[in-house]
Amino acid sequence: MNKLLSESLATATAGVSLLHDALLNQGVSTQAVEWSPPLGGKDLHDVMADQRRSVANELALSKMLNSGAVLVDVKPASEALNLGRGEFLHAGPPIEWSRASGPMRGALIAAMLYEKMADSAEAAELILEKNGVALEPCHHRGAVGPMAGVVTPSMWMFELQDPSTGNKSWCSLNEGLGKVLRYGAYSPEVIERLDWMRDVLGPLLQVGVRAREEHIDVRAIISQMIQMGDEGHNRNRAGTLMFLRDLLPFMIEGGTSSDVARAARFVGGNDHFFLNLVMPACKLQTRAAENIPGSTIVTVMARNGTDFGIQTSGTGNEWFIGPAQTPHGLYLGNYTADDANPDIGDSAITETAGIGGFSMAAAPAIVRFIGGSVPDALATTRRMYEICEGENPTFGIPVLEFRGAPTGIDVTRVLRTGILPQINTGMAGKVAGTGQVGAGLVTPPMEAFTAAITGLATRIV
């Protein structure tokens, strides 16, 4: 029986402050919520009235929490994804050359040169302008790509699997920082590095991964790195070194010493190497929660440099789009805000899974790098709990008494609170060929969430 009349009364109020004050004056334990009018109009109302939502969201969260991610193989995209010649994948929602931003174009040019489909940037552009290459989002094949996220058939991919569902996800090998394909650079050094990764690094990683008796548990490494100052998006230093520790002995046993030395130097010198394992692990987590009718939980956030797109559990693979925003943060060298391209990359899958910007409180070491302060970082993570379905105890944040990472972005909570997901990100130069110009913070456009609530409302049965 309802204990309303027998329990001591504790209240919460939303609305007129005077009614809250009247309770305080009576000495009642009461909390006033910081309320603001919700966005989303009738569609939000109808989704809140949908009796499937509450149960569906609980299920989505539990599927995310029960998912896993182990590294099962390393192999070329042609094998892993059945990617054929003339087929490229890219980050974010679908885009064609005519609407592509500078860094996306630069990366596609680099991909043409790398795959020897053109012998100059100009020749590559001519082919791309005529849509001579089939472009498709990474997410459509269950893969993820950082920044421009361009994947070509001969690039080597990490292959991860979720033991709870059997799902697989893939991501290319990280090239390092500066002038690299994913930031839109296509100079000869970029192509030479990609060649070495294809000819030496990829096969060596494959030997190491295949030689291990047990798969490397990527999710377990993420859990540890969160306690070592990484947030899994803009800081992956601890994760990278733990990964190298687990794999290096097997690479040494299977490779020539000069190759292994160069590979170890390359991986160890690139703090972001492990990002390309965190991302597919996060993809497996959110993919586990896909396609639950009535669920308003976000399963994908991704950007192509022009558009920001999200997908939700209850709406399958439909994209809800708004304009990509330009990040705020710090710039490398002489670059300024004028040089930065709007937001780009599938790496926001980390925030979708509750780490990255959502777990900023775990990474005080990098708050200045992206233009923030330690109190900002704590406030950011606390704010993200307001828009999430729950918490992930596997990713405990030490400074918050090991409270689990805020997990399962709920579209209805975003619209009700007006709080947008906080994303940590790198910034690409807006002119094709520039490379990285900085790093900072960005949010999705609210339009993506108002479009998603309409998509959810139209599916109410």
């Binding site: 009349l5 919460a12 109020t13 939303a14 909390q31 009235a49 307001e386 009700r416």
Partner: protein, 486 residues
Amino acid sequence: MRRIEIRPGFYRDSVSLMQVSQRAGVGIDGALVAMATPLNVELAIQMGFVLPPTSPNDLIIAIDAPNEESLSHAFDVVEEVLEEQLRKSREQSSESGITPARTLGRTQGARIALISVPGEFAFIDAVDALENDMNVMIFSDNVTMQDEILLKDIALSRDLLVMGPDCGTAIIGGVGLGFANVVSPGSVGIIAASGTGAQHLTTLLDHAGVGISHCIGLGGRDLSSAVAGRSAKQALALLEADEHTDLIVFVSKPAAPEVAQSLKDIASGMKKKVIFGLLGSTGSDITETAEKVLDEIGVTDRPWVNEVATAGSTGSTGSTGGSLRALFAGGTLCDEAMLIASKRTRVPIFSNIPLEKEWLLDPFGPATSHAFIDFGDDAMTVGRAHPMIDSKLRIERLAKEINDPSCGVILMDVVLGHGAISTPGEELSATISESSKPIFISLIGTTLDPQNFERQKAILAQAGAKVFLSNAYATHAALDALGVPR
């Protein structure tokens, strides 16, 4: 000179904004700081402002002042007060050491959620609270019937109670929620489909020395055919099981006959006695209901039969001519008075909440015959605080009626208690004292209310009003003054 500023998407609740308007309006011609709801836009236009297109989520700052200096000063005051309110709420939250939650579902340990957000959004917050196992009181009005039914069905499936929408009053375990008077603890449990009805019944019982266990609010529509007493049935079960309750009293505006019957059927199978006080042409008024309760428990004291304070002139003898104008803050009190007036005069009683459809009155226009205005009606509170919080519209109307030759007698209520204005008598007294017409006031309150009952009674009487504890008795006295036969 006039200047208007629109701040898109800037939200503050109507009570806070009323305080801003009041502070900014001192010494100038007019100040309206309010959300751009249709009602407030209309008010701004009436004040002579020209508005750009707005949405109800935008803030209007409209200032009318004699010169540039006072105009810009008023804008500075608006800014200051808005800032001050923000600072105050931040200080409150930092004192408690917790960042305030942004949604009810994220608060910790609350067992009841009190929702007073604008009505169109109240459903969303109520669903959130129910899904997080909170009982809900919805103070907001302007919630659709369909949403009310859905909320009550969700609550029933989770063994939770929804009080409202448009539930102004509840007292749970001695704690007043919304507008509630400070009453003594006792063993009478009240179920009320009417906020001011509940306030009136609890205060009458208190004056007679009878305390209450709980007062469960239902919202004004719970006993309609469509809602079918969903919350009422739960409330009966809760009070039947409550160890502190011996006698149950049901008070409501006119109820759908079949719903009233089904509740009586349930009550007849209960161990505890249930007294029904349903207003209506065949029902009893609130004072009669209070008297039935006293009869049941053997209390003979009836402290409300005479006026409790007056300035001295008798006034109630003989006819004054003209018609009766009643200006109510409490909807049920207005209903009750109309039923009494209709029965005694046998002529149409015009109102914005009329007893008969044909008796509809525009509450902003002049009246020619008997007219009863409920200033707390939904249509008059969109984007504006309830008249028990903001008395401006009612005082303006009172001044008009005093000068209207067709008005003979004025009837009003003054409701005290938690949530209501702290100085209602002080706000009314200057206008009342200008009246040459008799003004009858039902003063709804108890001696423990924060406003100081004795002081309010004295102020109103000194201004010239005739003060009653009972709304029914005040109404009868007003009709007597008009010369209407009993």
